[in-house]
Amino acid sequence: MTVLAVTEHRRGELRDPSFEVVTAGRELADALGTDLHLAVIGGDVEGFADRLNREGVDAIHTVAEGEEFNHDVYTQAVTAMAEAHDPDAVLMANTVNGLDYAPAVAGALDRPLVTDAVAFDADGTLEVTREQYGGKVETTVEVDADRFALTIRPAEWPAAEGTGDAEIAEFDFDLDESAVRSDVKGFEEVGAGDVDISEADVLVSIGRGIEEEDNLPLVEALADALGATLSSSRPIVDNGWLPKNRQVGQSGKVVTPDVYIAIGISGAVQHVAGMKGSDTIIAVNTDPNAPIMDIADYAIVDDLFDVVPELIEEFGGEAP
C-alpha cells in the first residue's frame, strides 16, 4: 500500500514536475492513508535522490540505468517497481515524456489511466478534475478501482519543500535489453535566432485570431508603433507564419516581460505555461470566456481587426 510517484530529469537536471509529483503524491498518500515512494530512474540517481528527499517522502527507489529518459527503460522499471510494491496509485507528470511512457505503464499493469489531472479527491473513490474542449469546461472523472494510474498537469501543484528522511535504496531490477527498441541519440536546441523574446520588456503576441498570414503586417505595425517585440502562440509557428524563436509556451520560450499583450490568443494551457509570469497581461479577444481572460489583468472584449488599427493610430503609426 503506497503511492508511487515517478520523477524525471533531463541533461543532468531534475525537472520541476519531479518536485510537483512529490507534492501531489503526498496529497494522494494522505487521502489514502498510505506512504509516498518515489522512483528515480537513470542519470545521477544518487544525487537526484538526495535532492528529491523532501518532506513527506517515505522511500526512494533508484534504478541506475542509462543517462537520459528512455521510455522502454522507464516503462519496464516503473512496471517492475509497481509489481514489487503494489502501490494503490502510480503517479506521473503529464509532461512530454509522461505522454511517452505513462500509457504504457498503465497498460502493462492493466490499470485504468486518467491523464492531465488539475485536481483530485481521493476521499473514498478517486475523483479527478480535468479540462475539456480547450479549457472551456471542467469535468469530473471517477475511477472505481483500488489500483490506478494518474498523470498530473505540470505547474498545478507547488514544488515540494523541506527536507525528508526517506529511505533511499537501489531497486533490484533486471532490464530486458531486447525490449529496448528505441534509441535516444541526443538533443538539439531549436528556435535560436536573431531575436530573443525572453529578453523583451514588451511583447505583442498574436494567436489564431489573426486568421490569415496576410493579416500579420497589422500586428507587426502595432509592435513597431509600441517599440515592442512580436511573439506568437503555437498555431502561428505551426503554420510557418513566424519562426520558431517567436513561439511563447511550453514547447517554445518562457517569457516574463513587463507587459504582454495577447491578441487573438485563447490561452491554451501550453501557451499560458510560457507567459503567466508576465508582469502585466492584457488580452484582446472576442470571447469573454476564453481561458486567457482568467489570467489577464486588463482586457478588451472585441474584434482585434477593429481594435488594433485604432491602437496603431493612437501611437502615430499607420495600419497597413
Binding site: 505522454l99 505513462a102 497498460g107 485504468p112 520588456d201 513587463d258 470566456n289
Partner: protein, 264 residues
C-alpha cells in the same frame, strides 16, 4: 508498406454555450477532424507519395456522423477507411483509454500495418494516451510527440524528433513496427481538392462492429466514468475596458503611456 492512421472527429464549442448533463448541448458543437490527426494523415500521405507501394488506411471509432470527417481524410489521399461502431459502443457512456486501445489493437491485428500514425491528443477530451496505450497493447515500439519523421521504409526504422519542453528536441531512432504520435507543425496539411473530394466518395469505407473485431461487450466495461461537467469559475479579475474599439484602444493607449511603455 501499410500505414494505419487513427483519426477522430472532435467537437468544438462555440464561444457561448450551455451544458446539458455530461456534455455541451449539441446546439453549440461543431464537428471537425481532430487537428493533430490532420497532421498525421498528411504525414502518411506524404510517405505514400515518397515511397512505392504504400497503402494508407484510416481508422476511426465513432458514429455515422463521423463519416464526413473520415471522407475528408480520404479526400486528402488516404486509400481506404475503417469506422468502428455498433450498438454496444453507441450505448457505452464513456470510452476510456483502455477501451479505445483495445478496439484499435483489434484493428491493428487485422490490418497488420508497418507503421501507425496517431495525433498526440484529441482536441476535445485531451487524454493524450491512446497512441502509446495502443503500442503497448500490440507490442509495437512507439514515440510520442513527434514533430519530425524520417522513415526508412526498407528497414522499417523511423528517425524521429520528439518535441520536448522549452525548445529542446530529442532525436530518437525507433524500430518498426511502431506507433508514432504526431505533433502539430510537423508538416503543412493540404486542403482537400474538389477532385479529391469526388474520389473520396468512391473509396471504401467499411464499418466494423465488436463481432467483426472478435471482441465482446466486455470491452466497454470500464472503471472510469465521466460524472460531471461544468463551466469553471472564472479566476480572473481582469479590468475589462468597455466601449467602442476607438474607446477601448484609447484606454489601452493611456494605460501603456502611464506605464511608460511608450512615450507621448
Amino acid at each position: 508498406m501499410k500505414i494505419l492512421v487513427t483519426v477522430k472527429e472532435v467537437a468544438q464549442v462555440d464561444d457561448e454555450f450551455e451544458i446539458d448533463g455530461l456534455d455541451v448541448d449539441e446546439r453549440y458543437l461543431e464537428y471537425d477532424l481532430n487537428e493533430w490527426d490532420d497532421y498525421a494523415v498528411e504525414e502518411a500521405v506524404q510517405l505514400s507519395e515518397a515511397n512505392d507501394d504504400v497503402e494508407v488506411v484510416t481508422v476511426t471509432v465513432g458514429p455515422e456522423r463521423s463519416e464526413e470527417t473520415v471522407r475528408m481524410a480520404l479526400a486528402k489521399g488516404a486509400d481506404r477507411a475503417l469506422r468502428v461502431w455498433d450498438d454496444t459502443l453507441a450505448g457505452a457512456e464513456f470510452l476510456d483509454v483502455s477501451t479505445k486501445a483495445e478496439l484499435l489493437a483489434a484493428v491493428v491485428e487485422e490490418e497488420d500495418p508497418d507503421l501507425v500514425l496517431s495525433g498526440v491528443q484529441a482536441d476535445d477530451d485531451s487524454f493524450g494516451a491512446t497512441g502509446v496505450a495502443l503500442a503497448e497493447r500490440v507490442g509495437f515500439e512507439w514515440a510520442a510527440v513527434v514533430n519530425d519523421l524520417d522513415h526508412d521504409a526498407d528497414a522499417n526504422v523511423s528517425n524521429v524528433r520528439r518535441e520536448l519542453e522549452g525548445g529542446v528536441e530529442e532525436l530518437t531512432e525507433v524500430e518498426g513496427p511502431a506507433v508514432l504520435t504526431i505533433q502539430t507543425g510537423i508538416n503543412e496539411p493540404r486542403y482537400a481538392s474538389l477532385r479529391g473530394i469526388r474520389q473520396a466518395q468512391r473509396k471504401p469505407l467499411d464499418v466494423l462492429g465488436l463481432d467483426d473485431l472478435g471482441l465482446d461487450d466486455s470491452v466497454v466495461e470500464s472503471p472510469v466514468a465521466l460524472t460531471s461537467m461544468y463551466e469553471p469559475e472564472s479566476e480572473g479579475d481582469a479590468v475589462v475596458w468597455e466601449g467602442s474599439a476607438e474607446e477601448t484602444a484609447g484606454e489601452l493607449a493611456t494605460f501603456l503611456r502611464e506605464k511608460g511603455v511608450v512615450e507621448g
